[in-house]
Symmetry: C2
Subunit: 338 residues, 2 copies
């Protein structure tokens, strides 16, 4: 690892993984918690989940949302995919001197609206202001707390060969929407960010399916990076089929021009759900009832379990019928994506 932070340390890819592993996970000494998006904590009579995220997205306003909406959906979704019912959020703001109050109000209003939809309460906050040039407009941290219901939880250790990998909808929308909104790559699209809270839909899946193996929201680093993390953390090998990936035509078009692959692009309103083959129909029929899940599909399966050479890996079956190993997003794709 280089001795200075580079942008690639923050993009959710390989260098970010190394940095987090080396600097934070090892130092704080929690290898287990690092495997899920939220910390699961036993308390006397119940269990709570806690998740934290700072949002530095650029631009602050984008098609489909703004940093405030994103700050709520991001943390709510992290709790939801951990199997928790999101309940409370804190919100902390670092604001650059000179930032228009009217914009701040809009952003706070977005937070309130999104929190209401998700049925969570914003219960504590903090504000800091830094001198002009010391922050880029506004950064927001949200930390969320949710309850874990013992009866409806996820059991990643139970993943096994043959399990189905479900994605709740099209991939890459957020990544392309932000890229387009920035205008610095010369592309213009109609794509909106998929930024949305998923907790109610996820709760219905957890209620209906007793044996959900694992859920994750594929944000920074995209679908592929998130699946690679699951493969490595839980010693499973997976294969996804490129032909099955739901990708909007405009997103695929932008990727073709820019040389990106949609499965490395960020999403902010999608969930990966891994379940036994026997449960995939039930999961799909629930997701399809929701506007935000109507394009849900099975995109691949777990093809092996266990440690050893060639294990714990993610493979992509290409349209030509060949398979290609996918790794974490390597190097920087897009800074400030969330």
């Amino acid at each position: 690892m280089n001795d200075r932070i580079s942008l690639a340390h923050g993009d959710g890819g390989e260098l970010a993984h190394q940095l987090i592993q080396e600097v934070f996970v090892d130092t704080f000494g929690h290898q287990e918690q690092a495997k899920l998006d939220a910390a699961i904590l036993s308390i006397a009579h119940s269990r709570i989940a806690i998740s934290t995220d700072s949002f530095v997205i650029k631009p602050l306003f984008f098609p489909g949302g703004d940093i405030g909406k994103l700050a709520v959906t991001g943390t709510v979704n992290d709790l939801a995919v951990s199997g928790a019912t999101p309940k409370f959020l804190t919100a902390s703001f670092i604001i650059e001197e000179g930032f228009p109050i009217v914009d701040l109000k809009k952003i706070v209003q977005s937070m309130v609206e999104e929190a209401k939809k998700a049925d969570v309460r914003i219960v504590a906050g903090d504000t800091k202001v830094v001198e002009k040039g010391s922050a880029d407009g506004l950064y927001i941290n949200t930390t969320g707390i949710g309850w874990i219901d013992e009866h409806h939880t996820v059991k990643p250790e139970s993943m096994q060969e043959g399990d189905s990998i479900v994605i709740s909808g099209t991939i890459g929308d957020h990544g392309i929407a932000i890229l387009s909104a920035r205008g610095d790559l010369g592309i213009q699209t109609e794509v909106q960010s998929d930024c949305v809270t998923l907790n109610h839909m996820i709760a219905e899946v957890l209620q209906a399916v007793n044996h959900v193996r694992i859920m994750r929201d594929p944000t920074r680093g995209g679908l592929a990076t998130t699946l690679v993390e699951i493969c490595e953390d839980f010693n499973v090998t997976m294969e996804i089929d490129e032909m099955l990936l739901p990708v909007r035509r405009e997103v695929q078009g932008a990727c073709d021009i820019l040389g990106y692959e949609p499965f490395y692009l960020a999403n902010e309103g999608k969930v990966i759900i891994i379940v036994g083959k026997e449960d995939e129909g039930k999961v799909l029929s629930i997701l399809h009832q929701y506007e935000i899940g109507k394009e849900a599909k099975v995109i691949g399966k777990v093809i092996g379990k266990g440690k050893g050479k060639g294990k714990g890996r993610l493979f992509l079956r290409t349209p030509l019928g060949s398979t290609r190993r996918l790794d974490r997003l390597s190097g920087m794709l897009l800074p400030r994506i969330c």
Copy 2:
């Protein structure tokens, strides 16, 4: 209120109060929670407290601590003064491209050490990197969760005339240490930041005294601003005696040169405890057993309760025997103090 954010919106003084009231408290709709440093939340079989704080202190390393130590002590103390036993922290980092990893490691190490002393676990984290020029080195958010023991809690509504105001030690140390470390005001002192976790000492006070009225840690805005907030939030009138305020000689000296008043300077390891007159001796004897409380003193009292003209105010008795009304810190004293 101006239509743009100024530095004074972030210093804990009058403009900051207005901003928070107008933009956050009103919008989020929690007038009650805004009165305490942490949100107190009922859960099925217990109650938890949640507090969040972003740290943007400059410089990152200062006499007596660094941003990592501060990020732990700040949130731990916010929970402790709310009557909670701090248990869990989350830590979220916004890092500027180019930041030395060796410094990041030092800072994370400080967090771990301070968390250990405070007996709290850092249970979740997040890292974002922003381009050079988009942040000033490093910002840290910590969010803390603690348990509320029904038997040992604070009851601000029970404040009454005659109650004693105790401060746990010298005021203004943090403010002067940071000012000196920055070097931009041309003063040099030996003063160290008082940055320290107070939770064990506070827990002993709560165990011993059944009727603690309220506790607060006088950080941004200092002793005076914090007391004014208590006066306004709970409709009490207070008087503190300038002659009784514990102030280090070096801090007073720096204040004399700079035209500051020590009771507006930030502290990061002090607690204000308000108790009935009958309990002040017990509180002092506990505080005096701790190195961090050995200079604890009674500095004033509650002189009235109720609403109306001239009520809900803070007065300072001066060495000349006259009294002077103190308001919140107005205008900017020091940006980036925590």
